[in-house]
Amino acid sequence: MTEITKEIVAEHGLSESEYERVLSILGREPNRTELGIFSVMWSEHCSYKSSKKWLKTLPTEAPWVICGPGENAGVVDIGDGQAAIFKMESHNHPSFIEPYQGAATGVGGILRDVFTMGARPIANMNALRFGQPDHPKTRHLVSGVVAGIGGYGNCMGIPTVGGETNFHSSYDGNILVNAMTVGVAETEKIFYSAAAGIGNPVVYVGSKTGRDGIHGATMASAEFDDDSEEKRPTVQVGDPFAEKLLLEACLELMATDYIVAIQDMGAAGLTSSSFEMADKGGVGIRLDIDKVPMREEGMTPYEVMLSESQERMLMVLKPGSEEAAQKIFEKWELDFAIIGEVTDTGKMILTMHGEIVAELPVAPLADAAPEYDRPWVKTVAPAPIKASDVSPVKDLGNALLTIMGSSEVASRKWIWEQYDHMVMGDTIQRPGGDAAVVRIHGTDKALAITTDCNPRYCYADPEMGGKQAVAETWRNLTATGAKPLAITDCMNFGNPERPEIMGQFVGCIEGMREACIALDYPVVSGNVSLYNETKGVGIHPTPAIGGIGLISQSDHMATIAFKSEGETVLLVGDTSGDLGQSIYLKEIEGREEGAPPVVNLDVEKRNGDFVRDSIHSGLVTACHDISDGGLAVALSEMALAGNIGANVSIQSDLPSHAICFAEDQARYVITTTATNAEKLLQNAQKCNVPLQNIGTTGHNELKIENTLAISIKDMRHVHANWLPDLMTVPGHE
């Protein structure tokens, strides 16, 4: 056996003090396999050691929350004995190294998190951040990531119904690929991961274990160098077909009552799945490594325990059910192996060839996982930028075209057309609107789903940015008529050992916390991805938020498209006209400066509740929230979606560029028939919601009186072509 040297410890990413703790838990030196297990269990990824302290401050409860953070995914009640199960997760680093497979296996991983709890996945989402459009790597990364997400989700037959995409230089060396899955289960049939029942069989199902994804540092070390083979890849190849079979087989098994506990094998594979199951159940587990289905010969216990081969699950079954369970997996042509049992030793004991190869106490290893209170400094928020501080450009029509054809606002159709967004026959709002809407199969209910985050806002003022991200998802759901239920998050940040980065994290969490509380909109699941940093340059803080909302009657749904000519256009909410961090400032002035718009959560709630009630009462014919790019962009998007123009005129003391492009929060544009306009205005007054009649739909241009007039055709041209043009290989077609 190799001796554990300082170098080996360092290669495993354990600090000296962490290694001291290993020695004191074991009362001896670990062997190589045990060290490997400590290293992955105590990695940032599995232990959340830098973030735990702060994540605990987020609100996680509401009467409709069935299961908050801590399990594979969050669970909320959606009535009629049904639950929505959802989570978002990052696959940033693998996607940068190998965009297709990295993104594909990211989708595979998040799907497993959801169906492991008993849900049939009904929708996928993806939140993507790439470097600058003209960075030499960007095109290759966009094309690979999008193909990979599509390749996996399409093959699984789960519709990918929406997402978000940003381009910014802060992601040049660290792209973000965050994938979200939403599934539906019966509230009576939700599966958890706590192992129980001494003597119960521990069962492995799915694909075989290979040497995939065993982390790089250990690969380079002596033990694996003796066969002079090529350096083994650290990226996994996804097999969506195997996952589709695994999904169907698991759901078939879940219809029985054979399962005691189940857990997917994600990061750190067999190690983290078995430890988590044992730790949650307060039991021990004995595993016989020889029984693990292996793809390659001569695999060591170290390799088997640390492999990140995809499309695998671990379960504890009721005794006596093994044979019937095996039949199901055989029908789906998947491996099924009893590899161990639940014990009362409180220890994880691994054997191979009849010998014990690792023996670790479960609870101490989990309880003693490091938790750090890392030093942090608060980001000082910049001063606001008033409209009067920015001199307007002469031609605001041209400014609108520039913005509509900018990397921030241009259509993402090139992306979502590569995703099957209709399979399963329940997508009643396709990508392109505020939130996607997917019917619960066989019912008249539907879920609205969105992901949002404005990293520029978060960079300027993490607290306001975090608040804004939560509020924007809430607003996007509201704009479809849905009642927002809960969120999942994917916290993407730089190196937490730098106090200013840690300060960004703390700030975003604080803002999110306030918003979640004020909007009664808890966090039920999430994921943290730190160290997104190259050569000391971190990404913009990016707390991607995925929100879901319930539409209890699917015909009470609004879309952004103008529906017919001659309807009244109304503006909900107040406009202060600040331009800090706006797209206008970025695209027209070339500045990313100032404070982001202020989020007032009381106003947010009041305006949103008014909009939702108006949609439910059937008075609203179209609805769109106002976000990136401000009012003029919102109106343009509604005109493009409906292929109908509008003529508006806004009563305000503000200069035109502020009216058109300020990104004040808590605002929406709604339309209504001419006859219903008065009613809405009266209702708004009763609710103390600012509502202004700003014009009428019609004709084939967007006209803002005394400011601009742009034809839908010109608008569509710049909006539709930016991304396809970016993605076209120079010199061809």
Partner: protein
């Protein structure tokens, strides 16, 4: 009347097909698992979309060699109407029930969106809801829908009126601009010589209500079921 839907490992539009048939027929089709070697007697067999066997090797190749497809081929030869959609179309060409092959889309990308289709021949059973030259709208969702056949086969298909639909624009113009995936002659769907098999890349089962964005698929299935009743 009875209908069957074939389900392979990796099929994923089987439920959508079932729902569409149910909606027009009033009763559920029989879902036939690929491993079954017996096919019940039915008046319609649907081979649905998806990624049978992951579409590994070639789309539809492994499914095309499955025992159940040998039964489907026999029924087809005996005259049973077969509706082969998307992956089903690929499977049907692999078995030789339909001529030609489906290659990777010319732009190399998966394409999911609504497309316009021009009706190019009359087959009352499958397209009786529409007339020749009508333009309808169905969604596509495929990576390998680029129809290929040699020149001789193509002219035979054209001459015999075996081409069911061509990719067109809203006004029915068929051109290279409206050819979404590089298919020979813009072909989106074809009949066999006897006219009892329809293979098509677009998905009629996806547009069966206003809520889903359109009803051309509903018209298609209503007519199909009526004509078989």
């Amino acid at each position: 009347m009875k209908a069957a839907v074939i389900v392979f490992p990796g099929s994923n539009c089987d439920r959508d097909m079932k729902v569409a048939i149910e909606q027009s027929l009033g009763t559920s089709p029989i879902m036939v698992w690929h491993g079954d070697s017996e096919l019940p007697d039915t008046d319609l067999i649907a081979v649905p979309g998806g990624f049978s066997y992951g579409d590994y090797l070639r789309c539809g190749a492994i499914a095309g060699n499955s025992p159940i497809m040998r039964e489907v081929v026999k029924k087809a030869a005996a005259g049973t109407p077969i509706l082969a959609v998307c992956n089903g179309f690929q499977v049907a060409t692999e078995t030789g029930m339909l001529p030609g092959a489906l290659l990777r889309n010319a732009n190399q990308k998966f394409i999911c969106r609504d497309v316009h289709l021009k009706i190019t021949s009359q087959n009352n059973r499958f397209s009786g809801a529409f007339k020749v030259d009508d333009v309808i709208r169905f969604p596509v969702a495929h990576h390998d829908g680029n129809y290929f056949a040699d020149d001789e086969t193509l002219s035979r298909l054209e001459d015999n009126g075996q081409i069911a639909f061509k990719y067109s624009d809203e006004d029915g113009t068929v051109s290279s601009k409206t050819n979404i995936n590089g298919s020979c002659n813009n072909i989106a769907g074809i009949y066999n010589e006897a006219g009892n098999i329809l293979g098509l890349m677009p998905h009629p089962e996806r547009l069966i209500s206003d809520q889903l964005g359109g009803t051309d698929g509903k018209l298609f299935f209503d007519n199909l079921i009526n004509s078989l009743n």
